[in-house]
Every structure is written in C-alpha cells, then in structure tokens.
Amino acid sequence: MEEKKVNYIEEEIEVKGEEEKLYTATHWQLMWRKFRRHKLAMVGFWLLVILYALAIFCEFFAPYDPAKRDTEYINVPPQKIHFIDGDGRFYLRPFVYGLKQESDPITWRRIYVEDKSERYPIYFFVHGDRYRLWNLVECDIHLIGTVEGPFYLFGTDESGRDLLSRTIYGARISLFTGLIGVFFSFIIGCILGGVSGYYGGNVDVIIQRIIEFILSLPSIPLWMALAAAMPKNWSPLRVYFLITIILSLLGWCSLARVVRGKLLEVRELDFVTAARLAGANDWTIITRHLLPNFSSYLIVNITLAIPNMILGETSLSFLGIGLRPPIISWGVLLKNAQNINTIALQPWLLIPGIFIVITVLAFNFLGDGLRDAADPYR
C-alpha cells in the first residue's frame, strides 16, 4: 500500500510536473483529481447531468404536451428516423415517414404502417404546443419535432399520448422524488445519527435498536401499507409529498449509521478535546469540527441512497398505490404495461423502465467513484 502511494505520487509529479500543486492541494481538490480518473463514475456523472437537464427543462425537450391526446394515432409503435428514402436518395436532414392506418389481415386489429409518400423532415427548435416553463415563461419552442406530420419516436399509449414526451416529463417527478426523499432522510439520519454518536449511552442503544429493527423489515410491504392508508381524495401534490416522506421514513437508517460511526471515530480525536477545552459548545464542535471531517462520506452515502428512493417510488406507483395520474412518473407510465396482453402488443410501453435502469446505474457508478475518491490519500 505504502509503495503504491509513493508510486502514485511520483507518477503525478512526472506526468504533470506539478509537485507544488499536489502537496498544497486541498482535500476537495485531491478528491476531484481522483474522481476524474474513475471512468465509469464520469460516465455516470454526465448521464445524470443529461437526465437532470431533461427533467428540469422537460417542457422544452418534450416534443408534445404530455396530456395531449391524438385520437388519430392510438397505440402507434415508435417511428424510425430515416436518412435514406425509398428511392435511395440520401438526405442530410433526418426525417420520419407519415403513418397510414391499416387493419391486420388476420386479427383485424388497427395497425400503423409507414406511408412512404409522406416525408416529414425533423427540425430543431420547432414551434409546437404552448407551455409555461416553470409556470413563468410562456413559450412554444420545442427542441426537436416535425412541422406538421406525426412525430412519435417512442410511440403513443392507448389514448394517443406521446410516450417520449411523457417519459421526459416523468423524469422530472421520478428524479426529484429521489432528491427530496433523500433530503428528508438526510435530515432525520443526521439528527438521530448525530445524537446517537455524539452523546452515546442509553440514547445510542435505543436509536441503534430502532435502526436494526427497521433494517430487518421488508421495505416494500411496509411502504405499501403506509401508502395505502393515504386518503383517496388527496390532491396530487399532497400525495407526492406524502410518498416522499414515506420513502424517507425507512430510508434514513443507513445514513444515520454512517453519521454515528464516523462521529464515534472522530469525537475522541485530540482536536476535538482541544476545541472543547477552548470553550466551544456542542453545536460548534459538531458543525464546525466534526461534520466537515466526514462530509465526503455523507455525500457518497447520499448518492447511493437516491437510487433506492427512485426504485421505491417507481415500484409503489407501478402498483397503483404511490403516485397516481395525472402525475406522470416512470412508475405511473409503467403501470400501463402491467399485463401480458398489453406488453405483447405494445412493448414500447416498457421504454420508461429502461430510463429507470439507466438512472439507477448512473447513480451507482457515480457513488462507486465517489466512494473511491472520498479517501484520496489511499
């Protein structure tokens, strides 16, 4: 290990010739340096940047209003983007074909085929459905779209709503449920873990028992029970906050454990005694001297806790006892794909699930990289 460290430092010096910089670098600079070397973590980081950008500006990125029903195009399969038309001509600007309704010769079901005679080029910044960005700026410009023809890259659902737009809008709810849920668990975890670790004694024992108890319970049945007790006539916003609170009620335990463990580790160190002798009170010691000491570990654990929240929310919404329409989240969207007949006929309804997997993967990659970086001296 020792040898490795020396090698690492020498390598740094040789490659960058920044001896001075390395020795004077702050803790966070060292962490950043190490984090950047973790390729998967960087991939996760940029994926999340893109996903959150989609979520924040979903009105702009979504080609349509997610609630708009297009009765002419019901259960349309995803359209393909073409560069070369039927005659073999190449176009620099990609395009989609129009759609023709036909009925299946065997089952008589309504199916859609590409109408090669209609060609709709795809443009950037097209004018489409009107929206109010964050309820403030009124606008009608969408990132991509066609000027008049249908543009359903992920297909449509049974009411003719565009799945791509709905997936992008769903990102807003699903991704921010994770953040808000983690914020609540962070607060509960810090307070209880802090009390437990700093004061110790009987309080510590009781809090630890509670944590062990909660961790040993199966989470989904508990979430289900709590969520199902929610009155049916609540407004979507209240439901949303209640669900995030329910999620964080069980989610704070691991954070509290980290806080407690780290507090126990550092509270006996000399500089804490020095601070106490100098007359600092408990609050100052905890917030000024102890917390900064392990804030990097906290960030790692928060990152790894977010995907659990997202998975919890989607699972509950998928079962129909979490978020409910008209709220759009990935779980709510997947609820449409619940039975085998729907999946067999409209497999594209599963697309939001792929987004869930990508998001959770990205968070896990990021968390892994951060965990390595949290201890930059190793």
Binding site: P218, P221, A228, F318, I340, A344, I356, N364
Partner: protein, 316 residues
C-alpha cells in the same frame, strides 16, 4: 426478539387502524347494499364481537388474544377467515423465499470466488456488469421484460405458478413438475438483485483475504492452489457472507411481494396487495405481520448459523 415481534404486532395494528373509519364501517356498507337497511342492534352486536366498542389499547389486546386463539379476524372481501387465507398462502411464500435464498447464495458465492481469483479478467468484467445491471433493475421491470421475451420468442406464458389445469387439482407428480417449470423465473427475478450484491461482497472480502501474508506463506510452502484457496481464505471470507442474510432476506421478501403481484403468484405479499386495494383491513394487518415475522425469524436463524459457523462470535 420477543420485543421485536411485539413492536411488529403494534405496527400491524396501527396499519389496521390507519384508514378512516373502522373495519365495520365498510362491512356495514356492503351489508346495506345487499339488504337495504341494517339493524342497529346487529351493528351493536358486531361491534361487541370485534371489540370495537373498547378503547384503543383494549382493542389491541383483544386482537392479540384472538390471534393466539387462532382467530385472525374475518376478511369480508374473500368471505373467509383471515387465518385460513394466510395458511393457504404461507407454504408458497416460505418455499419461494427459501428457494430464492438458496439460489442467491449458490450462484453468488462461486461467481464471487471466480471474480476474486480472476480479478480484471473478462469473466470478472462480465459479472461486474451483470451485477451492476442486476442491482439497477427494479424486480417488477425485470419480470415484465421476461414476460415479454418469453411470450414473444418462446410462446410460453410465465405468469402464475401453475398451469391453468393444475390450479385446483390435488397434488400429483404432474402438478409437481408443472410447479418446477414455473418456479425458475420468479426465483431468478427475485434473486437477481441479492445475487448481484453478494457477488460484490464475496469478491471484495476474498480479495482482501488473498492479500494477507498467510496466503503468501502457504503458497511459498508449496500448497496446491486449490487447497490454499478453499482451506483458508474462502472460509474466512464466508463469514461476512453469512451475516449478509440479515439484509438479503428482507430484500427477498420485499422483492417477492412485488414480483408475486406482477407474475400473479399466490403468496402472502400478493394477498397483502389485494387486501390493501380493497381496504380489507384485518387481512392487510395480519399479512404484513406475517411477512415481518417471517423476515425476523429468518434473520434470527441466520444469526444462529453465523454463531455456528464462526466459533469466535459469542452472544451474551
């Protein structure tokens, strides 16, 4: 342990109490739609029977007392005693959980050993990716995707646990074979996330162990690579693995609940779901209690197992 069970029972009781109105209000509603009016004295009698006229803590004691007598309450949705409904589904729940647990460890431990001994090889890389994806895929989504794939490419329906003709049939060899045919998919779906994380733990622990000096000593003495690996490092690395049952089991029960709902398997989790949807409060409370009990007992057994496997651990 006893305290834990007590806390769970209180929690389940709260679940029963949480929805507005008590159990009888919904029951009376159904009676009213069937018969028009309901006699006031009959309501009073029912109230007595279920102890709903008592204060809260007395109600709790009443509920627990009845439970020890084997009376879990009445499910008005199924028009059957709750105890019978639970007893019908309990074997399948336990079977599914235990099989998944076995599957998880039987698959994960060898792969973990392989990954640790072949660090950074193609196989290690492959399993790492599988592990990450397995952790990131919600079990219900995996179940949906498998349903789709099996239906499309194999023309085989994976829903349920028996084929239609066997559902009400008495046990026979054919029914047993049918069960075996249906079990692998739920087990795989429920077990994937747990397997993925145990592979990571096993790999990490074994890598730490392999760096120890006693391994170098043993190798220097000329011990065969196989004996060297299995005799010491694997045994040491197994201890943290056994203690993982404590959090793998709740995960399995959790995953089994949602998978059973998607794949329509008659387990207690599935029962809980329908009970919650129809506000069948006694059934919901009892189901959640049974699920939590199962998990706690399973964890307790794993603690005993750990003490047996590692004599260094002493319980006071």
């Amino acid at each position: 342990m006893v305290v834990l069970l007590f806390v769970i029972s209180v929690f389940s009781f709260i679940v029963i109490q949480l929805p507005p109105g008590d159990y009888l209000t919904s029951y009376i509603m159904t009676l009213q739609t069937q018969q028009g009016t309901v006699d006031e004295s009959m309501i009073e009698a029912l109230r007595k029977q279920y102890g709903l006229d008592l204060p809260m803590y007395d109600q709790y004691i009443f509920w627990i007392k009845n439970m020890f007598k084997g009376d879990f309450g009445w499910s008005f949705e199924w028009k059957q005693p709750v105890g019978k409904l639970l007893a019908d589904r309990l074997p399948m729940t336990v079977l599914l959980s235990i099989l998944t647990l076995i599957f998880t460890y039987v698959i994960a431990v060898p792969i973990g050993i392989y990954s640790a001994t072949h660090q950074y090889s193609f196989g290690d890389f492959f399993f790492t990716i599988i592990g990450f994806v397995g952790l990131a895929t919600p079990s219900f989504f995996l179940a949906l995707v498998l349903m789709f794939l099996f239906n499309k490419y194999l023309g085989f329906s994976v829903g349920g646990i028996f084929s239609t003709q066997y559902i009400d049939a008495p046990w026979s060899f054919a029914k047993f074979m049918d069960l075996l045919k249906h079990l692998p998919i739920p087990i795989f779906v429920i077990g994937l996330a747990g397997t993925a994380s145990i592979i990571r733990v096993m790999r990490g622990c074994l890598l730490d162990e392999l760096r120890q000096q006693y391994v170098i000593t043993a190798r220097a003495k000329g011990l065969s690579e196989r004996k060297l690996l299995y005799k010491y490092p694997v045994r040491v690395a197994m201890n943290p693995i056994i203690s993982t049952i404590g959090w793998v089991l709740p995960g399995i029960v959790s995953g089994a609940t949602i998978t059973a709902i998607v794949l329509d398997i008659p387990t207690v989790g599935n029962l809980l779901y329908s009970a919650l949807l129809s506000q069948d409060t006694y059934l919901a409370g009892s189901s959640i209690m049974i699920l939590a009990f199962l998990t706690i007992i399973g964890t307790f057994i794993s603690d005993l197992l750990l003490a047996w496997a590692d004599p260094r651990i002493q319980y006071q």
